[in-house]
């Protein structure tokens, strides 16, 4: 039965339900059992923010704390996946992927292809991303475009509790390696989530809001920012259609193109840095496939080409704002900006 739970609880519930359903699902990572300030196993903290709390006692022997060595345990996950388990490895922050990138993009992503389709790698790497909690440059990045770039990986960037649970269950059941990116600022956001397990297919965008004037494509935390901008723009008579791709690989290009066919205008909102990111990718696809439909150049609203600042004032200025989104929409719609 649907009830309101947080994004964090939705992720925990997806893990618990899949571990219940399938004994080959295992969880490991730094502090996923014990963790910060935990006196011992009896008070297992469940990761740095408690996302895996409760799993350790419920599934004995299947929730493993690892040494602080991402390359070792992500590699172990790839090997476990290739030999029969369905591991969910937690990379505490996506920023740490540099340590274990070889295991991800040279190993896990390549097995199925290089072994002629005779190997599968059903692993999930869950990781936190995004700015907004004063965690500085090494714990705040939005690096999903790097994974999206690599064939052989699937990439999910859920924006709501409903999507988080359904996409994580789909990720665990998927036979390919999936990078599952959880925005840390969304952990406390509540939404309607069915109690029963359900799998949300990858590559199906969510039309968050229908509108005929401007297509706004947004990901992760930016979806709610786009909604706030759309509310403000409605008063000016501009109807935004908001499309959340939900997964960047595969990307639901059809839904984006159909929307642009209807509106003729595109704004892409991306919390990531501007160069070689999802905003560029989506804008380029639309420019190539829907050029005839466009009434104005596509616009991108992104973070600047800069590390995420530690200063709270600068961090707030770094993240694309509701006002910046609204301004970009007005500009592409040819509407005057408010005085």
């Amino acid at each position: 039965m649907a009830r309101e739970i947080t994004y964090q609880t939705a992720i925990n519930e997806a893990l618990a339900q899949e571990m219940e359903r399938d004994p080959s699902v295992v969880v490991f990572g730094e502090d996923v059992a014990g963790g910060m300030e935990a006196p011992g196993e009896d008070d297992a903290w469940g990761g740095v923010l408690g996302v895996t709390k409760g799993l350790y006692h419920r599934f004995p022997g299947r929730v493993l704390d690892t040494p602080i060595s991402e390359s070792a345990y992500v590699g172990a996950a790839a090997g476990a996946a290739a030999s029969g388990l369905r591991p969910v490895a937690e990379l505490m922050f996506v920023d740490f992927m540099g340590v274990c990138l070889d295991q991800i993009f040279n190993q896990a992503a390549k097995f199925r292809y290089m072994f002629g389709g005779r190997a599968k790698t059903p692993m999930v790497i869950r990781t936190m991303w995004g700015a907004g909690i004063r965690a500085a440059s090494q714990h705040s990045q939005a690096l999903y475009s790097i994974f999206t770039h690599i064939p052989g990986l699937k990439v999910a960037v859920p924006a709501t509790p409903y999507d988080a649970k359904g996409l994580l269950i789909a990720a665990i059941r998927d036979d390919d390696p999936v990078i599952f990116l959880e925005h840390k600022v969304l952990y406390d956001v509540k939404g309607d989530v069915p109690e029963e397990p359900y799998a949300l297919p990858f590559g199906e965008a969510n039309i968050v809001r229908e509108g005929g004037d401007v297509t706004v494509v947004a990901l992760g935390r930016m979806v709610s920012f786009a909604e706030q901008a759309a509310d403000a723009l409605e008063d000016d008579g501009i109807d935004c259609e908001i499309v959340d791709p939900r997964t960047t690989s595969p990307l639901d290009e059809d839904t984006i193109l159909e929307s642009v066919e209807n509106t003729g205008r595109l704004v892409v909102v991306d919390e990531a840095n501007p160069r070689c990111g999802m905003a560029c990718d989506i804008a380029a696809r639309v420019a190539q496939e829907a050029f005839e439909d466009l009434k104005a150049p596509p616009r991108m609203v992104t973070a600047p080409h800069s590390p995420v600042p530690f200063s709270p004032v600068l961090e707030d200025a770094y993240v694309p704002s509701v006002d910046a989104i609204a301004a970009a929409v007005r500009e592409t719609a040819g509407a005057p900006s408010p005085a």
Binding site: P194, E196, P197, Y198, A199, P201, E204, T255
Partner: protein, 378 residues
């Protein structure tokens, strides 16, 4: 002549509706209205509908403007006798607007679905109405209790209305086993026993109609009347493309054209309706349940259980309602209703007259139930 001033309010269609948008006024200010006249078109996230006049009188004010979003219970217009002064009408509006609190703040007061624990899991139902002879509503294939969003509140004035989620559907348990009629009939029996409902009026749409009819045949003493809405079980034909398309569709663009088959006006299929059905279809066990039921009851594009001939055995009043433009089960099946049954075929309406022609549907069913109740008490 009356000095009563009636509010024309934003209706509540379905549990999740908190507001609606006024699409258009259908009558001018000053128009004479009878109860049930169509006054305004309203769109909601889930579905569009028509607001009917709650009273006889003159539409004195169109308070809401076209395009305005009004909370449930908020003021759309004011109906009063022509003799009531403008000043009184204005005072009514001012007082209403000053004291009106949108429902959101007190939503706990609204009806909430309940569940019954059964061996296979839980059965979910929604009870509406305080008193009157009980009426049990059974939705169709792939549907749920929300399909009665227009009918249940309207009929709850005269009845205690129970809308049930059948096994495999809504938020009821999903393991339907073989997926045969016996299981659906058994769920109805369990529900009635749970609620101490000895005798009920039973109404079913499509698959739910078949379940209702089969229950009535098994336990005629427990059924005061039988209402069959675009019902299965009256003939062999059924739209195979709908059944198979509904089961196979995993994505919005595949499901939308399938759902459009349900209505004469495909514009009624909103994004939210498609999303809600997709959310249901993604739940573990639903795919298996739908395939089991379809495999058992609608195999190879034919209805496998046809009970039309047996309905004549029933001594209870029977009502058959159909949409003339039904593209799932042909309206011609209404002709198989037994002698003495009331039959209504509604023009310009598809497979879901309870949603697409809600006003007419509610009047027909309400009138039928009143008559059937009177008969039962004799």
């Amino acid at each position: 002549m009356s000095d009563a001033i009636e509010k024309l309010g934003m209706p509540k269609w379905g549990l999740s509706m908190t507001e609606g948008r006024l699409v258009d006024w259908l009558v001018e200010e000053g128009a004479e209205l009878q109860v049930g006249d169509e006054v305004a078109e309203v769109s909601t996230e889930k579905i569009d509908g028509v607001v009917e006049s709650p009273a006889a009188g003159v539409l004195r004010r169109r308070v809401a403007t076209v395009g305005e979003v009004v909370p449930v219970g908020g003021l759309l217009g004011v109906i009063a006798d022509a003799a009531v002064s403008d000043a009184d009408v204005d005072r009514f509006i001012d007082e209403f607007q000053a004291s009106f609190v949108p429902e959101e703040a007190e939503e706990e007061a609204g009806p909430a679905p309940e569940t019954v624990a059964v061996e296979a899991g839980t059965l979910r139902f929604l009870r509406q109405g305080e008193s009157g002879e009980p009426l049990v509503l059974l939705h169709g294939f792939g549907g749920d209790l929300n399909n009665w969003l227009f009918a249940a509140p309207a009929l709850a004035g005269q009845h205690v209305v129970y809308a049930l989620d059948l096994p495999g559907h809504g938020e009821s348990f999903k393991d339907v086993g073989a997926g045969d009629v016996d299981q659906l009939v058994g769920a109805v029996r369990i529900f009635l026993d749970f609620g101490d409902l000895e005798v009920v009026h039973l109404a079913g749409h499509s698959l739910g109609g078949l379940a209702a009819a089969c229950f009535a045949l098994e336990e005629p003493a427990r059924v005061a009347s039988l209402t069959l809405v675009a019902s299965a079980g009256l003939g062999e034909e059924i739209n195979r493309d709908y059944i198979e398309g509904f089961i196979e569709a995993e994505r919005r663009r595949d499901l939308k054209p399938v759902l459009e088959l349900l209505f004469a006006d495909p514009g009624l299929v909103t994004r939210q309706l498609v999303d809600d059905v997709l959310k249901y279809k993604r739940i573990d066990g639903v795919d298996e349940a739908l395939r089991a039921i379809a495999g058992n009851l609608f195999a190879d594009g034919r209805q496998c259980v046809v009970i039309a001939d047996r309905l004549a055995e029933l001594e209870v009043p029977i009502l058959v309602v159909w949409g003339r433009e039904d593209r799932i089960i042909p309206a011609a099946h209404a002709e198989r209703a037994p002698e003495g049954a009331q039959v209504h075929i509604l023009d310009g309406t598809g497979h879901s007259p309870h949603m697409e022609a809600a006003g007419d549907f509610n009047r027909i069913v309400g009138g039928f139930l009143a008559g059937a109740g009177a008969r039962a008490r004799q």
